[in-house]
Symmetry: D2
Subunit: 350 residues, 4 copies
């Protein structure tokens, strides 16, 4: 099968990075115990503990839908609720998975500026009702970076966790692109998670260069009670667990997780810088991670499609470009050039 | 990490077979659309249709827990029930997964001889009650081969499906080791499934040589309505689906699926033949697939453990040996020799 | 225990009307079969069929939470979604019950003018997405009359059901105060339900004068398949069913259901007419059923509380007054007089 | 509607006892706050606390299906399991309700002599497995009296609770006929519940003379956390709660609950004593509560039916007779006489 020219429609379109692949190859030697009782799984869990500088509980799930939904279900009962932003992936793109895994926990949408929650918005929702006809808020979930590529600063997370503590809420972080946030903030993973008050992190592996897999980290070990049973019952326990764990070893031990993310972030900035000042082109959100959201006229977007680019669009004329661990800078330049050309042609025609 | 000498405790201890690995490697070239809209996924689905000689609906799930539970949930509502044997994996080893995915469908245990259901046993349960205080039977699930390595003949499956049709029940086949049944029966997959009246098959890839993955085949396409949504919501939709699909292509297109199973079955027979007549050794079940269940005294089992063997034991002194796609015949001979030695030593001591 | 002066905080504060009481008393003679296999239950179901002029399927549930949630669960699977208004009781006041009973069906909020859905709003939500990451819309639910006391006309319901048919959606009517809608429209129940395209109606008994109980009517009998099992499993099957059914007989056979509602509606109009023109007083919604929503300054509301009135308030200074089957017109006049006095005093003070 | 001659097929066939009726009538005066914030509900809860001599948490549910299922769901997560006897109502007659309310908690059947669990049987199940493929046992549920009318002694309950404490299990008592157990044991309710180690009791009102309703008592208040939300979400919160609560006040405050049960028990003994020695008649179980289980030949049972009696039958020729609070002793004598006649006639014919 032939390889097509890179598109930047999604960072899920990329394959497996060399470090993850090599670790899978190494893991594929001989036999090993099943269901996580193997050397690779123990090593991967320890690698997370080292990276996060804390003795957290670590679990592996097949994908982000499951990791986030299981984590949220562990933090609340069916009659509780989860506060999130209107743009949260758990709210918009999981086909009701959080409600399914929790057997009915309702997601409550808090007001947000471009998808980033604030302490005020959390407080407003959490204190809006206190009667039993309304599901009791128990968890706040934030996506780091957000679905539109913005990164919560350490202080922002601390402010959110403070209001959570005050109101008896747990703080969950959907880190489908957590590595990109670390690369963007240039901070230790611990700083932006448990030291800032995060209770549970779902650390995404797929968008970071793995074939499949997400890690769930409980910084408060008490919250992880029987979570292994929960994973098993929900179809998230791999029998040949080593193949879910080994890629993490490969990526964590030599820093590939961070290099991959930094490269992707860099490509996003590369595009943004080249198109920011173009006529008729507007960056919809600050470019802080590996995505660029471009507002442009229908004519510009049509021209881009004619030139062979594929991308998701949003209401109001936005186009999303996402950069993977293996994004080709030359292709980024091509994209920038085509946007420039489309923009100029359209401006002239007007 | 060092490779240990092969144990036969589980066929999950083996790694990825060369054909599956090569396909993953081939799939890992460049970018591809996510969520199953890629060439590999389409090719894998078509390969199943070719193999089964029918235009079935094909879905991919991460593991058997999910595949079977999702399939059962698709066949019944929460207030319905599923008839199975007391030995069925869904009853004994899934931590309540079928009940979780279906939101409460009860498993009803039918009497069985060594885990194989009969039409009479199905009928007895299905017609035992007809009041609304008892969950209405809607599905029969059989494991092919059974958890103890016995294979339903085509006629046995036909007899079961006949009673299912008569009583308005659907027939589901848990094929965690489906390939081993085909190798054992030496029949076309179609013969033992849809042509024999099976409505849905879960075809196991992991025990057949893959890293992860199970295929769900709906022979009655109407039953598959919106099953893609069901998979998504339940955390079973892989974003980089090609890596779940490609190994199937690699294994189906050149017959590795069947060779792997035939090899494993052969190792089981190899062991069985060498130990069947030994004093104090009894084969608990006919050896028709890749497992051998040995009844022996505690002394014999202890001696085997002393000689370095690991295996699961059962009430009454049974030991299970399971052979994977890469089982080493020389090791099988070693095991047979050690059983012979342990058996003889114990017989002499008695 | 002493009787307090009537408040109009809720129409749930009233007791059992004489007709319902008399029927319960009549039903409490001797023994009767359990679980609905009794004369009263059959008679009540027939009374509904007569009233609605159709051979619908009739079930009895304990309350509206369950009736609506069970009905919605019967119309969709967990990965489907339900379109409702932001003001819908199922969205705002059921503590996640619809999600719980359906095991995860998401409620999608459509834009609405004061809580009344329109075909355009339904279409906008139903056609907004068609990918599997978004729960597939399957049901539209409307509250008749709405939570703020507005009544859908027959034409409005017909327009909604037309778009439902076109888009493959079922139409559910939450009729917690269905009788009040009939009284308001002065139409046959059939006209505003199945003849207008409603598939399932939950007809509320509690707010209509019963102690407990709601009827679920399936006009499309195919949708009711196994609904009795669903009710049983969900804890909604009364053993002494006659006491849930008999009050319906008492209320339906002599028209009490409609008289009660008409009386309550009349009290609402009585209040509205007396206060509509007062300075600083505004009716927030057209008064079409048994509720009056009054916008007034904090000072006016405080004055009313000082005069002993209790009521629910809303953001922006609204007060809700709800009138039950036994609302005392003299008390309504007192309330009107107190609102006038509070309004005048506050206007003078300004 | 005419009253038929009393049958003893079920104690659910009886109506509402005078004390419960009078309390409902008293409660039906004027208006009262909804959802349990009324005087009757508070009084009923206090009456339970007085009766049980402890400050327990008290909730009201509509029926036993819901009360037991909600209580079990509060004691375990979906991946936990509940140990019960094969005869337990939750296992045999709830259409999967416990699994539905808990979202998948599996019921594990322990061996029992005639439906009474023993510490040994509980231990055997609870310690049979400790791997994550098997749902972790968390609760033991016993029915007091059992479904076949046997009563656990105080010492038996203490022995069960001791093993529960040792193994980290909670002890739940399904008291659909709890009053009958108290009457049979002639003990304080506290003795057979919390003082004997029971954590949660579901106290049945329906079979004790009420129209509808069951009380859930948490002796360990910590286990009741947010149980009110759980009830609400599951459709078990009555808006006009006073009508669910008042009957309890009427029955608890003057001892009707115990008189009703004692009367029913007495009728069972009355029958048993008259038929115990008859030829061809065998009492299947000790008669300790309000049920009599009679083994007799098909001919005898046919003769009884010919004489107009209706009853449930069991495998092996058993007939169940259940006596309600209003069982007519004269009819009991008629039944005894008819059994005698049938027995004698059949014996002569043989």
């Amino acid at each position: 099968m032939t390889t097509e020219a890179q598109q930047f429609a999604s960072d899920n379109y990329a394959g497996i990075c060399p470090e993850a692949w090599a670790a899978m190859e190494a893991a594929n030697q001989g036999h090993a115990p099943a269901y996580g009782d193997d050397h690779w799984t123990h090593t991967a869990a320890d690698a997370f503990r080292t990276l996060f500088e804390t003795d957290c509980e670590v679990f592996f799930a097949f994908n982000g839908t499951a990791a986030n939904s299981l984590a949220l279900a562990a933090l609340c009962q069916s009659y509780h609720s989860v506060i999130c932003s209107a743009a949260a992936h758990v709210e918009t793109d999981e086909c009701g998975a959080p409600e399914f895994f929790s057997n009915g926990s309702k997601l409550l949408v808090a007001q947000s500026q471009d998808g980033k929650l604030t302490p005020e918005a959390v407080r407003a929702v959490a204190t809006s009702r206190s009667d039993i006809h309304f599901p009791k808020p128990r968890v706040v979930t934030i996506t780091q970076p957000t679905e539109t590529g913005q990164v919560y600063t350490i202080d922002e997370v601390k402010a959110l966790s403070a209001v959570c503590r005050e109101l008896g809420l747990k703080l969950h972080m959907d880190g489908a692109r957590f590595a990109h946030a670390c690369a963007s903030l240039n901070c230790d993973p611990a700083e932006i998670t448990w030291r800032a008050g995060v209770d549970v992190l779902c650390f995404g592996g797929t968008k970071n260069g793995m074939a499949v897999g997400e890690a769930v980290l409980f910084f408060d070990r008490a919250l992880a009670q029987d979570f292994d049973y929960r994973c098993k019952q929900a179809g998230q326990l791999a029998s040949k667990m080593r193949f879910l764990a080994a890629p993490w070893v490969g990526m964590l031990e030599n820093g590939a997780w961070l290099r991959n993310a930094a490269h992707a972030n860099g490509c996003a900035r590369q595009l943004a810088e080249q198109i920011a000042e173009l006529p008729g082109i507007e960056l919809m959100f600050p470019v802080e991670a590996n995505g660029v959201f471009v507002r442009a006229s229908d004519a510009v977007l049509a021209e881009l499609r004619m030139r062979g680019w594929r991308f998701y669009t949003f209401i109001g004329g936005g186009a999303r470009f996402m950069f993977a661990w293996d994004a080709d800078p030359a292709r980024v330049d091509q994209l920038a050039a085509d946007i420039r050309a489309a923009s100029t042609a359209t401006a002239l025609a007007a």
